[in-house]
Symmetry: C2
Subunit: 392 residues, 2 copies
C-alpha cells in the first residue's frame, strides 16, 4: 500500500538531496579508509560529565515518570529568563514549550502557524531539513534566494514579492550553512514584511550562543513582533547536547497553550530527567556555552588566516555558527562535483553548497568540527586542491 502523499514527498523522487558525499564518506570510513570528516554539525566534544551527572541524579531521585507535557516548570522558567535578557521582552514560563529537540520545535511551530496547503516561506541557502519538513506538513514551500552577492542576506524586494498570500516565514540567524548573522537592518526588513503581509515569523536561533562578530538579535525584540514570532532554540549546539534532544518554542502565551495541546497528542512531553539536566546546564551561565563554542571561534580565526594565502577562494567570513561557506566557482566545478573530487583525491569530506539550496551553488560548506591541527591541515589541502583546479 502506498503511504500518504505528504510523507511520500518529503524527499522527492529523483531529486538529489545532496547527502551523496556524506554517505560515500561514511562508507569509505567503514571500509577502513582515513577520511577527514567535515560534513555535519556535530561537535568534536561530548556532553560535559557534570551535565550527565545532573541527569543521572534526577533519574535516581525518581524522576522517571511522565514530565508535565509543556515541560518542567524549572526548565521553562530558566529558558524564559535567558530569552528575556536577550530580547528585552517580558517572557515567562507560559511563553515556553519544551520539545524533543529544535527540529521538533520547528515542526510544531509550523503546525501551529499554517494550515494544510498554506504557502510557507524560507530563505535559501537553508538548513537541509527545511523544505522536506514543510512538505511533510502538507505546506507549499517557497524559497527566497539570499544571494552570495548580497552576502547571503535576503533583500526587501525578494521578501515582499514572495510574501503575498503566505502564512509564515522561516529564518535562521546565525545561519547554517552560511555563518551569516542578520543585523538590525535585515531584521527590520523581515519584520516589516511580516507585519505588512500578516505572516508568522518562525526564527531558528539554535546558534544564538555562537556569534563571532556583530551580535545576535532576536526578531521577537522588534516592535509588533512578539505577537507573531515563534522562536526556536535548543541545547544541542550551545551545550554539546545534540543527543539529548532538548529544544523549545518561545511565543505568545495563547499559542504556547495550544502547542501544549499539540504536544499532548504528538509526543506526550519530553524526558523529565534530561530536562533537569538541561536546567542544570543553563544555570551554569555563559561559561558553559563559551567553553563549547571556543573551538569554533579559534578555528574560524585559523581558517581566515589560511584563506588569505589562497586568493582564488572567496569566503564571506562567518559571523556565527560552526561552518565556513567557501566559494569554489573559480575551479569551474559546482559544489557537488568539487566535493566528490575532493573526497576522492584528498580524502576530505565536505558538504556541497547545492545541498543547502540553489543560492549556495558553486560553494561548499566546511564544518569546523575536528581538532585545530587536523582542521588546519585539511583546510590547507582543500584550498591547495581548489587553487590547482582554478589555475588549470
Amino acid at each position: 500500500m502506498l503511504p500518504s502523499q505528504r510523507i511520500r514527498n518529503i524527499v522527492p523522487e529523483g531529486l538529489s538531496d545532496g547527502w551523496g558525499v556524506f554517505m560515500k564518506a561514511r562508507e569509505m570510513i567503514a571500509q577502513g579508509q582515513s577520511v577527514i570528516e567535515l560534513t555535519i554539525g556535530e561537535h568534536d566534544i561530548k556532553t560535559a560529565p557534570d551535565i550527565l551527572q545532573a541527569m543521572q541524579r534526577s533519574a535516581k531521585d525518581g524522576h522517571t515518570g511522565y514530565a508535565p507535557v509543556p515541560g518542567t516548570q524549572g526548565l521553562r522558567e530558566i529558558v524564559a529568563a535567558h530569552h528575556q535578557t536577550q530580547a528585552q521582552v517580558p517572557t515567562s514560563a507560559e511563553n515556553v514549550l519544551i520539545t524533543p529537540g529544535a527540529q521538533a520545535a520547528l515542526f510544531a511551530a509550523h503546525l501551529a502557524a499554517c494550515n494544510p496547503h498554506d504557502k510557507a516561506l524560507y530563505i535559501d541557502p537553508y538548513y537541509t531539513t527545511y523544505p522536506g519538513m514543510l512538505r511533510a506538513l502538507s505546506l507549499n514551500p517557497v524559497a527566497i534566494a539570499a544571494k552570495a552577492s548580497d552576502g547571503f542576506q535576503p533583500n526587501g524586494a525578494s521578501l515582499n514579492a514572495a510574501a503575498q498570500g503566505a502564512a509564515s516565514l522561516l529564518i535562521n540567524s546565525p545561519n547554517n550553512p552560511t555563518g551569516v548573522v542578520y543585523g538590525q537592518e535585515t531584521l527590520e526588513i523581515i519584520a516589516d514584511t511580516c507585519r505588512e503581509h500578516d505572516l508568522w515569523l518562525i526564527s531558528d536561533e539554535v546558534y544564538a550562543s555562537q556569534v563571532w562578530s556583530g551580535r545576535h538579535i532576536t526578531p521577537r525584540s522588534l516592535p509588533g513582533m512578539k505577537e507573531r514570532s515563534l522562536i526556536v532554540g535548543s541545547m544541542s549546539k550551545s551545550h554539546a547536547m545534540t543527543g539529548s534532544r532538548i529544544g523549545w518554542v518561545i511565543g505568545p502565551e495563547d499559542i504556547i497553550a495550544k502547542l501544549s495541546d499539540l504536544a499532548t497528542v504528538s509526543n506526550y512531553g519530553v524526558v523529565g530527567f534530561i530536562q533537569d539536566a538541561a536546567e542544570y546546564a543553563l544555570h551554569l551561565g555563559s561559561s558553559a556555552f563559551i567553553s563549547v563554542s571556543a573551538p569554533f571561534e579559534r578555528r574560524r580565526k585559523l581558517a581566515l588566516e589560511i584563506l588569505k594565502e589562497f586568493p582564488q577562494i572567496n569566503v564571506i567570513p562567518p559571523q556565527g555558527a560552526m561552518y565556513l561557506m567557501l566559494d569554489i566557482r573559480s575551479t569551474g566545478l559546482n559544489g557537488e562535483a568539487f566535493a566528490n573530487a575532493l573526497l576522492e583525491q584528498r580524502k576530505i569530506a565536505v558538504m556541497p553548497g547545492e545541498s543547502f539550496g540553489a543560492a549556495a551553488a558553486g560553494h561548499i560548506r566546511v564544518a569546523m568540527t575536528v581538532e585545530d591541527a587536523l582542521f588546519s591541515k585539511a583546510l590547507k589541502s582543500l584550498c591547495d586542491f581548489a587553487t590547482n583546479l582554478a589555475s588549470k
Copy 2:
C-alpha cells in the same frame, strides 16, 4: 494572531475533555488534602536502577551525539526480534522505526497513512488523546462505538458502516480504558474490514505485555495484514519507563523508510543513550516486564474478589492493562457526576467513563496504580459509596 485551525481545535472549545476530576484532585493534593489518586496510568514504581545504570554507562561512554535517525541498530533489531516471536511474521530492523514514545509513534503512523481531510476511524471507548491527535493531523475523526453490552468489542456491522471511504482504522488491544483484549474472532472481523475497504490498520499495542486472561494477538500476524498494518509499541508500560519516551512503529520496509524521512524532519531521531538503556532492558527478557506487571495482575484479582460483594456494580473483568472499568449506572449518576461526588465525599479520584467516549458513559475507570492495601481500601469505599447511591 490566531494559530492554525488544526491546532486550535485539538481540544474543542466548550467541550469538556473529562479531565476536570483529575485537575480537581491535583488541586486538593496540592492543598494538603489526602486523596487516593486512581486516575492516570502511571506505575507506582520507578524505572529499575539497572536500566538507569545502562543509560548512564552509555552516556559516559560518549554516546551523547546524534543517534541514527530511525533508531540505533541494536534497539531496532531486538524490537524486531520480539515482534517476530509474537507475530510469527518475518520482521527485521528495517521494519522498525524508533520514536520518542508511543504517542509520537501514533502521530507518525497516521501522518504516513492519511492525507489532510481523510476520514480516520477509531474505536470508542478510546484513549483520551486519539480524537485530538486526529484533529491535529487535519483528519476527519469518526468514532465506532464498541458498546458495553457487546463487552466493549467492535462489531462487523458498525465497522463496515463506518469504513466506506475511510483511510485508516486505529485499534487498541489490550484496551485502555476497558481492559478488553481482542480475540481472534474480533481481529478477523477487523482485518476483513481493512482488506475490503483498503484501510491502513494502526494498532496501539502498548499494553501487550499485560494480559491476564486470553493472549495478545497482533493483527500483523493475520493473512494479508502485514502490508497494511502499522504496529505501535513502547517501553512505557511494559518496563515502567514512561518518562524515558521510547516507542516504535513496526510496518512494511518501504513505509518505515518514509517514516525515517519524516523523523529526519520532525524530530531528528531519539536520544541514543536512552535507546541503549531500552535495548538493555529488552535483553533482560520476560522477567523484566513480568515483575513490572505483577502488581496489576495481583490487584485485578483483589478487585474481582471485592466486586463479588457488591452486585449492583457491574464489571467486565479486565483481560489486560492496568485499569478496571466499572459500570455505575445503577447509581443513577453518569460517570462524571459520580466521579465528582466520589472525590468530594470519599477523597478518591477516578476517571469518568465519558472522558473515553460516549460508549463509556455511565462508567468509571479505576487505575490499579497504588499499593495493594490502599487499593483494596479505596475500591471497597468506592463500591460502598456506589451501592449506597444505588439503594436510595
